[in-house]
Amino acid sequence: MPDIAKRKTDIGPPHYEQFLPPIIKANYGKWKYHEIPRPGVLVHVGETGDRLYTVRAGSPRLLSVQTIRQICDLADKYCDGYLRFTSRHNIEFLLTDPAKIDLLIADLATAGFPVGGTGNALSNIVHTQGWIHCHSAATDASGIVKALMDELIGHFTSMDLPGKLRVALACCVNMCGAVHCSDIAILGIHRRPPKINHDRLPKMCELPTVVASCPTAAIRPVRKDGHETVEVAEELCMFCGNCYTVCPAMPLNDPLNDGVSIWVGGKVSNARSEPGFSKLAIPFLPNNPPRWPEVVDAVKKLVDVWAANARPYERMGEWIERIGWPRFFRLTGIEFTKQHIDDFRHAETTFRRSVHVKR
């Protein structure tokens, strides 16, 4: 038993300053501009003329300690031990000597890390845990990302797209990956109501919490075989899984009905158009491991059609806004269905309330 008096708590994270390389300390807040001399390489120029080179490499996000040490070896060899990570799981090596860039990129290639993700390109896919670690996953995350990036890697290692392409994947509507504002969002969905385990529910779950957890008030308390339990009005269930999160006796996971939906046209940046949510493109595709060919084909098609038709700097949503949704569905060959029309809160704000129709 460790000595409680000596136990350290609430120290917070290490102070970032100790991890900043000298060139960053010298130019902190005094950077003048940056350029992208080649895909995956940034150069930031300070007011004094100092030049900091960043080499950005993609990672699978799931990293073993062995691979982290390998990454550390490269940072020791080329960057005096300094490196950082991006909000999209990329690794960034920070160099002061431009002569070392090619050597580092060659070593990264040998180690299996592609360099890219800068400028008008596809960056790494932000994603969640999926079947590796999550209880509510309606699909896997890492598998789809790997299968998709194997196909789209050319858009990561070059800057051949009209604008930035931000793809994200969340394995259920909890959206730990916050996919809801991405150019292309891949979202795991459930499609059948929870299967209630009436024996376990009274022992495991707090009834008022379960009832209150439902956004459509579909859950009601009932008495069954002498137990206090709940029932679900299935016609009101939209498969959000919130009840399952507060009550493990109400699982939704179901191999026949779980799968993947595809959403398009969202963004978080304020550049040009305002930030906005992604909109439904494809309501359902099946879980087909290990490579989810239906999902990979659908996303590739969306990227191809956008890349062929968008103007410079036009993100997916800005392109669709310009051409209109009817043409988007025609160009992509995606069928427009009942599921595409919102029927939750404020659905009417998404209806076309004018005769302005682009054809």
Binding site: R7, T9, D10, I11, G12, P13, P14, H15, G29, W31, Y33, T54, G58, P60, R61, L62, L63, S64, V65, Q66, I68, R69, C72, G81, Y82, R84, T86, S87, I91, G112, W131, I132, H133, H135, S136, A137, D140, S142, K146, A147, M149, D150, M175, C176, A178, H180, C181, T209, A212, S213, C240, P255, D258, N270, A271, P275, F277, P312, Y313, F344
Partner: protein, 396 residues
Amino acid sequence: MSDERRPTPKLDDLEKGPWPSFVREMKRAAEGSAMADQLLGVLELSYGDRVGHWKHGGVVGVRGYGAGVIGRYSDVPEQFPEVAQFHTMRVNHPAGWFYKTDALRKVCDIWEKHGSGLTNLHGATGDIILLGMKTESLEPVFAELTENGFDLGGSGSVVRTPSCCVGPARCEWACFDTLALTYDLTQHYQDEIHRPSLPYKFKIKASGCPNDCVAAIARADLSIIGTWRDAIDVDQEAVGTYAADGLDVRATVCDRCPSKCMAFDGTSLDIDNSACVRCMHCINVMPKALRPGLERGACILIGGKAPIVSGAMLSSVLVPFMKLEPPYTELKELIGKILELWGDEGKNRERVGEFIQRVGLGSFLEAIGLEPMPEMVKHPRENPYVFYEEYFEEEK
């Protein structure tokens, strides 16, 4: 361990192809960890029956904290006893995700000794994720982490680990010091991060400019996004160089400006800053010629969240412009009032954005002592059902 490894034909397929493979990572970790080895088996099982095999819940954590550990159990423990317990630990990352290799190696050593050897760099919260450990390892890992200067992040109904973009460390567009602010807030809210005392999660994210590289507007309950109040800083000579180098300034910059506030006559760029919405597009396209103005600060927005429970929301403007200098008194007072009000009045699992929807933004502002401002809305209300708390009566 490799002699007893079960075949994983489906996962093996994902070792092929040019993108770095997570399966290779699992196999590397499995060389030294029976937990990682059995995780491969669990995932292969999921790839066969197309359903996850994890159960959540249970009260697991380190002593004195109610956050930082996500309890996870296998629903096939007989088949995979090594991962019967497979908890996640969230370790608060350094602001901006900067590291020196010695610190990162230290975390690896601790994790190799006590856990699965698998991590996420980083999780969606921003934390370092230590993926998969037994209950008995929680205290030893925590002790060794704190011994080496690391602490746990948030989980559950707490102030979550604040995170931020690279900021002034490596970006000329940072309108405030995102790293200093994030470190300061993280230290200030240690108790609120580690001990659940709120209706639900409360996320704080700081982006240095309107490009919002940490998706603060979509992912944070309190979004702090850098902006400026004065004119865009223009280097006309550098604009000319972009044009001479082949950039179509009119088509690519002026025509893409959302407020159409700029014109280019072939030699000089004329910006009507009174019409500029500070979106960053022109600056993004010509970083050598244009920069945010000098009077820099941040816009504070509130209420962003993913769909659970009552639908996804983007944060909306709460304070159009705030200077952010240490010790950040104005911001901390504002956050304090929000946490107090929502902490007292919010329902269980009601995010602050949903709380504002329920009580009304007007009432919320009144309760935290902010004046309503036109910057907070796209337009005034259209619906004539207006609430008044008081009315006049004829004097008798």
